[in-house]
Symmetry: C2
Subunit: 410 residues, 2 copies
């Protein structure tokens, strides 16, 4: 945990209401950190449906493998998350650590093993001292509470400079339901998830397969549309649980009209959480929104947006408050997606600086310069092929990023 | 041109022998720079065969479009290169600038237009004052010489901190042939001022289609295997000319036994030039070689190698002299290529730090720490799938990179 809070951090931690039957506790196991909590245990009521989106890394960790296995059943009762050790690249020993943690949690909470989800975040390649977790579980289970989500969010932080959470309410038919979410992540952030963990719980009653479909769509336009450094973690995990205690009419499929408002609020909450992750990007001083239009498809637009967002030349120009649209052109070109060089239009802070493949002669630089000095940068690129569009978010690349990452282990 | 020469620069400029009929001149046109040469004109003898590898950017510049057009004929008589303005993202005006430059050069040198190659490197989105080039051509043509390749190499520099060249000799049958090459590029192969350009000339007699095949193969394992920041210029151009004055027996195809030594020396020269580009990477303090083995194919190995080489987390760790192999694991995973997490082996400076998916218990850290403090870093990753292998090269990511790129235009 860094001492300095990101300049892009929100003013304060939001108030998250109690969700019936959802209880949690944070504990200090001393896995890596001293004098702070590093274990989060969350209990969910019987009958909770589960959905998840996991890292696409080919070297994903043992805990992620386990979550993928458990998600096949679509049920959730317990979530166990530790910070400080990723239990990644730990071979059979890592698998055994997960196994023991799951068995212990299932025994303590009296549920099936496939109702237990585990996540580990922190250093790669070191064995997880899981005995510290399993030894703590019985005691932790006696101190579960339904409030203080901030304590929960803090327990899963690693290099994060602030705890991340969001809450929304939605109507499903005539029933009001609530969604609460917490997240962590500040580096190694890229689409397909990075060491990014997020847990969202709602009291809505929604079948697991419907929940999964909603989460997949929501993740694509939130967590899969953000990037800090283009690096992808071995551990990224986004889980969504629906406890059903709100007693709403159950939707049968993702396209159900009943879900219109819920879907919107879910996507909004996921976007909020994902933006908080970007705003805690290592060394970030500016939050950058990149809107791509005119691409061959939405997918092509997202690839172009990410090429711009991941370009070190674009990111350093933004850090230097330089409206260097030539670098945006370069990034569009390198994306590999179709773009018409002679129809390309670029706007910075709403001001058109390039049109139809040419610099706009004598555009007013004053508002552009002012925009670049702000904390929220908006870059728009229209690539002149078809109607595909996408929005992605990133932060700038600063000296602090190098300071943080040039000495992480030491 | 930066004041400070890269710490990784070679001791001095190599001696390049005169090639019969190959003459050149450098000139100060004042396109952007003051008090330095910014135009290179090279004349090649009649009958010279031409081959080229160009940027894959979808927003490539008008000069690159022209080179692609001219290369269809496979002949070369004149090369015109300017530094300071990339003539990229300049629309129809940019195309007209190229047209006028080509027409003027063809008239001055009495050759076909498709025997003229043009390159421009520098700022994007500004119109090229081609009249400064065309006005200078008649005078420049009167001052051509066959020696002083250093002057030629200096005229095409932008943010480069040293001029780049290499020379080799090879036997084709019983005939000794020579290869001379110059290059520019300062890391990220970026559009602003850091495009990669390279021109190689040999006195060998080799048909254009054979030359093209050799160059494509050679580029894959040299210029297409280097990266500074993963950014791709709109202007990257690598041209190879064979004048035929050596009078060797003409090979008929790329697989011809006659070409065995030539091919080896060509690849060696291209590798040498490409390494010099990496060693002039913006802010580079260390040269990094990444060897990937055990991949599904050579292509998969190169993708994995580039994922490691482009990872900001790996690059900052190297700058911080931290043997953080966990980040190498992460980068292997994010590459999207097949890798067996539980067979993955990683060596740093020849010392195995991870084997079969696990940290090597108690490996000797002393030589690894010493290796990380050196200027030449070697990272090996064996991914346990098949026999595919590749080597890629990069540099570290330092504060100087951010300084250079955060304030380029101002």
């Amino acid at each position: 945990m860094a001492d300095k809070v990101s300049p892009l951090a929100p003013a304060g931690f939001p108030f998250l209401p109690v969700l019936p039957g959802v209880r949690f506790a944070a504990h200090a196991c001393g896995i890596r950190y001293r004098d702070r909590t590093d274990l989060l245990v969350m209990e969910l009521p019987a009958g909770t449906a589960a959905a998840g989106v996991l890292t696409t890394s080919k070297t994903r960790s043992a805990p992620v493998d386990w979550c993928a296995h458990a998600l096949k059943k679509g049920r959730g009762r317990v979530v166990v998350v530790n910070a400080g050790n990723a239990n990644a690249f730990t071979g059979e020993k890592g698998v055994a650590s997960v196994r023991r943690t799951v068995e212990a949690a299932a025994a303590v909470f009296g549920c099936k093993e496939t109702e237990v989800y585990v996540s580990s975040t922190g250093t790669i390649g070191e064995f997880l001292p899981d005995e510290k977790i399993t030894a703590a579980l019985p005691e932790v289970a006696r101190h579960l509470k339904g409030e203080d989500w901030e304590r929960a969010a803090r327990a899963i932080m690693t290099t994060d400079t602030f705890p991340k959470a969001a809450t929304r309410t939605a109507m499903i038919g005539k029933t009001k339901v609530t969604l609460n979410g917490i997240a962590k992540g500040s580096g190694m952030i890229a689409p397909d998830m990075a060491t990014m963990l997020a847990y969202v719980v709602t009291d809505a009653a929604i079948p697991a397969e419907v929940l999964q479909s909603l989460l997949k769509k929501g993740a694509d336009r939130s967590f899969n549309s953000i990037t800090v450094d283009g690096d992808t973690s071995t551990s990224d995990t986004l889980l969504l649980f629906a406890t059903g205690t709100a007693g709403n009419k159950r939707p049968e499929k993702a396209g159900d009209k009943l879900l219109k408002d819920f879907k919107e609020k879910l996507f909004d909450l996921l976007t909020d959480l994902s933006h908080q992750v970007v705003k805690d990007g290592e060394g970030a001083s500016k939050f950058v929104e990149i809107r791509v239009t005119g691409a061959e498809s939405a997918k092509a637009a997202r690839i172009i947006g990410l090429a711009i967002a991941n370009s070190p030349l674009v990111k350093t120009a933004i850090a230097g408050e330089d409206a260097n649209w030539g670098r945006v052109v370069m990034a569009v070109g390198k994306s590999g997606q179709k773009a018409d060089r002679d129809k390309l239009c670029i706007r910075i802070g709403g001001v058109e600086v390039a049109r139809n493949g040419l610099a706009v002669p004598g555009y007013d630089e004053t508002p552009v310069v002012a925009h670049m000095k702000g904390q929220n940068i908006v870059i728009e690129a229209s690539v002149g092929i078809a109607d595909g569009k996408a929005v992605v978010w990133t932060c700038d690349l600063t000296h602090d990023y190098i300071d943080i990452n040039g000495s992480y282990r030491s």
